[in-house]
Symmetry: C2
Subunit: 325 residues, 2 copies
């Protein structure tokens, strides 16, 4: 399959690497809204200005969209579904229905297929929430994130006056995890599920007490959590907090039996050294799937819920039944 | 959906309970090769002799087959796919291609849909092996079972002369699990992955040393494992080992990045108080899926790989996108 990448941030670079490692994929080019000459492209594939995309209308099987969910993808995905099969990683959970409707209208009209919200949450975590709830209808769901870097929360700290740089880790509360894993169904507040650790580089002479207070009181981002703030040097931040690890767990505890006498626990967990590279790997697997589905005449907007596992694998159905089932 | 159950052992009883708890399912009857009057049926649904099944040809949306994989299902599933949409839990991994071919021929001919090998392994574990390998192509798979009761191994011990009853637990080796979870890709022998614990009730006066030796030397079942044998009274066995717990984990550790510099670990785990009730819950979810797929004109033999997650849930696609994605 012939793949194009639109956007070349952390995610775009991860997709580039994943496509180059996939035996059944060929990377045709990277498309950018920046000056193509300004991009350092590891794989050496051609870089094109975004305006050139219409010239690639019949030269790409799937275009993987690596824009942001806040402002890029709500416009980009419907627009590009007019000319291409596309995959995105739209991750604003609350806005999924709106995004789906816009993308579906565009893709149905053009006869293309568009898969939205691929990645791990939304994505693999969502699939596991669905499977677990379908199998254990009498139960409760828990999603824990971390220990890992939240880029949105790190950005929020960076916007505070006097902050040079910052890295925020989301950390699940061990006691809550243990209770859920043990099959209990505790009611957990936001504060009881996760803590937030912030590593902050402050400007020289900045009022650290004020910065710490502004972080801890920030609504939505930090106010509802037990938050720790540690001031570090720029060197320490680069050395100790340079990576983008993440992970988490989806746990469903349920009961079966006439009197609900048997506890059943399903847990799906990820431990990721590189969040963007893992997300990229998921996008490439879903690019394979929608390329196949489009070949069977499927069009419109889809999510990971609509894709049968068989379509994700480079192996044939016969091989999968013989060796993986 | 109208459901029938064929076979009323541990699994059949679990399916009965799961169907009665599913809001969108109605249990029409239980079919048995035994004398119907001899069955104590918890739900009170009618019990019919297996010979009466042809009279239910148009009265069942799905017939769930709860026979054994050794001799029942290879005959039962293709035969019943001539008249019904069926789900089975065929679990002889090596014989799946043969079983698939026989069932596919029957179901294609009759225009029915037959889903084979549902459960957790094969089943949910298989799905997770597929997803994980598709997302992390450069990696290695590990499946651990237990701690849990292996009914096949318990039966094998019971066939030894002088044994009244027995219960066998399969136990993952903690050190192996730890190494794999840490992202290493160790090469593990059978002995290094699992141990086997046997609790045995011997006849009075039986030669316990001989029984222990016969267990430990039994080819395929025990010879390749570190096996412990503990003799207990019938009362102890009933009191301490009366349940059918099981579980396990599918772990894939892989790398991403241009030089494979980032470790990524995916783990799917189950902790089950009741293995047959959990397997039954999976069968009912897949009954829902194939009923829907048949309504869209799909026929032939399918596996869990062919079923999109959306079809398993009682929720609508809109609800799933809004609340689970």
């Amino acid at each position: 399959m012939k793949i194009g990448i639109y956007g070349y941030g952390n995610l775009g670079r991860g997709v580039e690497c994943a496509v180059c490692h996939a035996a059944d994929a060929e990377l045709v080019g990277i498309f950018t809204r920046r000056d193509p000459a300004s991009l350092q492209v590891k794989s050496g594939v051609p870089v094109y200005a975004a305006e050139e995309l219409p010239n690639f209308k019949d030269k790409l099987d799937v275009l993987i969209l690596c824009g942001g969910s806040a402002t890029d993808l709500p416009v980009m995905t419907p627009a590009l579904a007019a000319d291409f099969n596309v995959v995105d990683s739209f991750d604003t959970h609350a806005a999924v229905p709106t995004h789906f409707a816009a993308v579906d209208a565009a893709a149905e009209k053009s006869g293309h297929i568009a898969l939205i919200s691929a990645g791990w949450d939304p994505g693999l975590f969502s699939i596991n929430r669905l499977y677990a709830a379908a199998v254990l209808p009498d139960g409760a769901d828990y999603t824990f994130w971390g220990r890992g870097v939240s880029q949105g929360h790190s950005d929020a700290i960076r916007r505070i006056d006097g902050v040079v740089d910052a890295r925020q880790y989301t950390v699940p509360v061990a006691a809550a995890l243990e209770a859920v894993r043990g099959g209990e169904q505790p009611v957990l507040s936001t504060r009881e599920k996760h803590t937030r650790e912030c590593y902050v580089v402050a400007e020289e002479g900045a009022d650290r007490a004020r910065i710490e207070r502004e972080i801890k009181e920030m609504p939505n981002y930090f106010a509802d959590y037990d938050t720790t703030v540690t001031f570090v040097t720029a060197e320490e931040l680069a050395r100790e907090h340079g990576g983008l690890p993440h992970g988490g767990a989806v746990i469903r505890t349920g009961v079966t039996g006439w009197d609900g006498e048997h506890r059943q626990v399903i847990e799906y967990g990820l431990k990721l050294d590189s969040n963007p590279e893992f997300t990229a790997s998921v996008l490439v697997a879903y690019a394979r799937a929608i390329h196949r589905m489009h070949g069977r005449g499927v069009c419109g907007c889809k999510t990971v819920f609509d894709v049968a596992p068989v379509d994700l694998s480079p192996l044939s159905p016969e091989e999968l039944r013989a060796h993986i089932l």
